[in-house]
Structure formats: structure tokens, C-alpha cells
Symmetry: C2
Subunit: 247 residues, 2 copies
């Protein structure tokens, strides 16, 4: 990746380091090497580490290192068809693990990162979520007021301290994530929903490229009622700020 960026700097201005999170110490070393020596501006991690959630204490040192390096976390889902949608079936059918399971997993990871106090420990940690923040913008009612009564639906575990352990209302942190416009060519109504949730300063374009279809995304962004400044922010300005680069 570093070599590609060196060869074609006008096309590939920087990259994110892929980490193998089953080795936390190795991941930290690789993050340092990629960012300090090779010019990466962030790290790519998945919402699930070999079946384990990101809020386990053992992953904390990685986030500490990324925050200290002032780098960006690219958070991407990783579910496969092996996660079934019905007990009677051995796998998720019709590619719904991809279609819906990915945004679901992103949302679960986001909430759990917040609930474990990660953003209180590392307030400057910047996390880009793909697919415009998973289900959080559309379901801010369920995540906000719905989880404000956390514990009311649970008898076998005490959740009464979770929200109290956070410095701010839990929903505040959800707005601090960044959302990528990679909505796979959906309508402007969906982009507008995510944009209103995150705000113009927290929506980024094509950080999930080249996997999403880019032309329909550009078209959908251009359909939004945005000032030229706001449009530039989404297309490039926010990425410049996040990555501390000029494009």
C-alpha cells in the first residue's frame, strides 16, 4: 500500500494499515510502523475479532495507541453467511448477511465501544463507520430513548451502572462517529437521514472505496440541498481534516 501511494501519490494520497487484531501487540507495532514509517493515516479494523467484541479490555491498548498516534480508525463489518438468520437454517440465505448483517454488526460495535467508555478514555479517537453509521441514524429513537432505560428488559445481568459510568449521555457519543456515504446507490432520503444525524462535519465520501458504487453515490450527494461549502466538506474537506492532509 505504501509503495502504491509512493508511485501514484495523486491517485492514492495515503492508506489505512490492515491489522490482525487476534495479535494485539503485533497490531500496535504494525500500526506504529505503518503510520510513523510508511505514511498511513489510520488503521482498518473489523467489528468482530474472531468472534469477540471490540470492547474487551485486551483490545484497549490498540485504541490507546491509535489515539496517541492521532490516527483514524476505519471500522468495517466482517460477518459471513455463517451467521444464520433463522435457527432452522444453517446459514444466512439470499446474501442478507451482507445486505443487512453488515450494518447491524457496525451498529452493535459502535454502541459497545461507547458503553465500555472508550471515548471517555480516548476523547480524540476518530472512528469512520461505513454505510453511513449502520442503523444508528435511522434508529436514533431506539438507541437514544430506547436504551436510556437500559436494564428494564434484562433480568439476568445488572446494567444499572453502564450509562452512569459514562461522562456524557450515551447518545452524544454516537454523533461523534464519522459516517461514510457508501450507501450502495440508495436514494437521497437515506443520505439526508444520515447527514442530519451526523452533521455535515462528520460525513465522509469514498473512504470505503473502491468497493461501493461511486457514480450513484456522487449523484445522490449532488441531489442533496447543500451549499457548495458543505458539499466540498463531504467530498473532500472532512477527509482533509480527519487525515491532516491537503488534497
Amino acid at each position: 500500500m505504501a509503495e502504491l501511494c509512493r508511485k501514484h501519490p495523486e491517485r492514492f494520497p495515503t492508506f489505512a494499515a490492515a491489522l490482525c487484531m487476534t495479535d494485539v501487540e503485533g497490531s500496535i507495532a504494525e500500526a506504529r510502523r505503518a503510520i510513523k514509517d510508511l505514511g498511513a493515516r489510520g488503521v482498518l479494523i473489523y467489528t468482530d475479532v474472531a468472534g469477540e467484541p471490540l470492547d474487551l479490555p485486551k483490545f484497549d491498548p490498540l485504541f490507546a495507541a491509535v489515539a496517541e498516534l492521532d490516527a483514524v480508525v476505519w471500522l468495517h463489518p466482517a460477518r459471513t453467511a455463517a451467521v444464520t438468520d433463522y435457527k432452522s437454517e444453517a446459514k444466512s440465505r439470499y446474501e442478507l448477511w451482507w445486505c443487512l448483517g453488515w450494518p447491524y454488526d457496525t451498529s452493535v460495535a459502535m454502541i459497545r465501544m461507547v458503553f465500555c467508555g472508550l471515548f471517555d478514555r480516548y476523547p480524540k479517537l476518530k472512528v469512520i463507520t461505513h454505510h453511513l453509521g449502520g442503523m444508528i441514524p435511522y434508529y436514533d429513537g431506539r438507541v437514544g430513548p430506547g436504551l436510556k432505560v437500559l436494564g428494564a428488559r434484562t433480568a439476568d445481568e445488572d446494567y444499572s451502572k453502564v450509562l452512569l459510568s459514562l461522562k456524557r449521555p450515551h447518545m452524544d457519543y454516537m454523533h461523534d462517529f464519522y459516517g461514510d456515504t457508501a450507501m450502495f446507490g440508495g436514494g437521497a432520503h437515506a443520505l439526508r437521514c444520515g447527514l442530519e444525524f451526523f452533521g455535515v462535519g462528520h460525513v465522509v465520501f469514498a473512504t470505503d472505496a473502491p468497493l461501493g458504487p461511486i457514480p450513484p453515490t456522487i449523484k445522490a450527494i449532488e441531489q442533496l440541498e447543500l451549499t457548495p461549502d458543505a458539499r466540498r466538506q463531504i467530498f473532500v474537506g472532512n477527509a482533509e481534516t480527519l487525515l491532516n492532509m491537503k488534497f
Copy 2:
């Protein structure tokens, strides 16, 4: 329920019959009895029948009967904490099975009902989805263009005939569902997103009551840029048409 409606007709104008879908024949008999003899206008079913999906051929006669009775299907999710979010954990933590799992399950059921040709067989079948259509409005890009290449991500099952077996483009059917405004007090941006997806004629209010918080939902609807006619449609007119009643 019928007795309650008889006693307080101004407060409870009608009801939906609860069915026990593990007994399909019994469910059909109960639907007929409730609708023909007791004044129900529809049936409540869950997105998952004891671990099985609704697109199994054995459930088809129930949908045939409901369509023939010109009644409405209330489709509600049913997942519990037993569906874990991470392989390393025995259950879904922090009530995310409720917060996010419910809309996920609704979305999966909707897509599978469409893919099995249900709405080609019973074109007049009317289905109300709670929580404003699950993830479908926000992720219409993933469901629409994303599943248009159904099969491209799958090696062990042949999906090449699924979309071809449908009379219309698969996304058309998704807009035919009705969405309830039960968004748990979320912002107007989310309601607006669902409303733009389904259209004013397919959004209904309080069919999921009394479980969602009603006052914030009313407030959010009133924040939308709607004509008085459109607002009346959402609050009551669409329900009148759907249920064939005057309120």
C-alpha cells in the same frame, strides 16, 4: 379483545387476532373466526415461527386465507437475547437484540416474503411493518442495487432464478409494505426517511401502540413538512383505508 372493543368502541375500534403459527391450520381457523365472527380486521404474526422463516411453503395457506379475507397482516419481530451478537458470548448484551435485532429481523422477513413470490401470489396482501419498515428505507441502496446482483457473493447455492421468478423488480414490492411510525421517539430525520421511501399513503400511526412512546412520535410527525391532508392520512386516513373503517 373482541369484548374490549364491544365495551369501548370509541377507544378500541377493532383488533388484530393473535395467531399461533406453529399450528397453521389452527391459525387459519382462528383468523377466520376472529375476522368473520368477532370483528378483527387483521392478524398479528411474528417474523420468525419457532426458528423458521415465513417463506416456507407450509405457511402459504395462512397468507392465502388472510388475502381472501381482505384482512391486514401485522408483522412484528420476536427475537430475544438468546440470539447472540458475538460467537464468544452466550447472548446478546445491552439489549441490542431488542434495539437493533428487532428491526433486523423485520427486514429479513420482508425481503424473504418478497423473494418467495408471496406478493405475486396474493397481490392484495397488505402487511404493516413496525418501526417504519425495519432497515429497508435507510438501506434501500443495499436492498435494491445491492441485491440486484444476488448470487454474486454466493458459491454454495444457486440464486440466479430468484429475481427472475418475480413479476416485478424486487424493490417494487418493498415499497408496497406499510410502515408504522413507531420509531421510539427518534428525530424527524428518520421519520422523513421512511416517509420518503414508503410514500404518504403507506405510513401508519400507532398500529404498534401502546408499546411505543406515543407523545414524542406525535411531536416528530408534527415536525415534518406535511400538508394537513397528508398529516391526516398518516394519523388516521391510511388506517381507515387499510382496515376499511371510519374513525
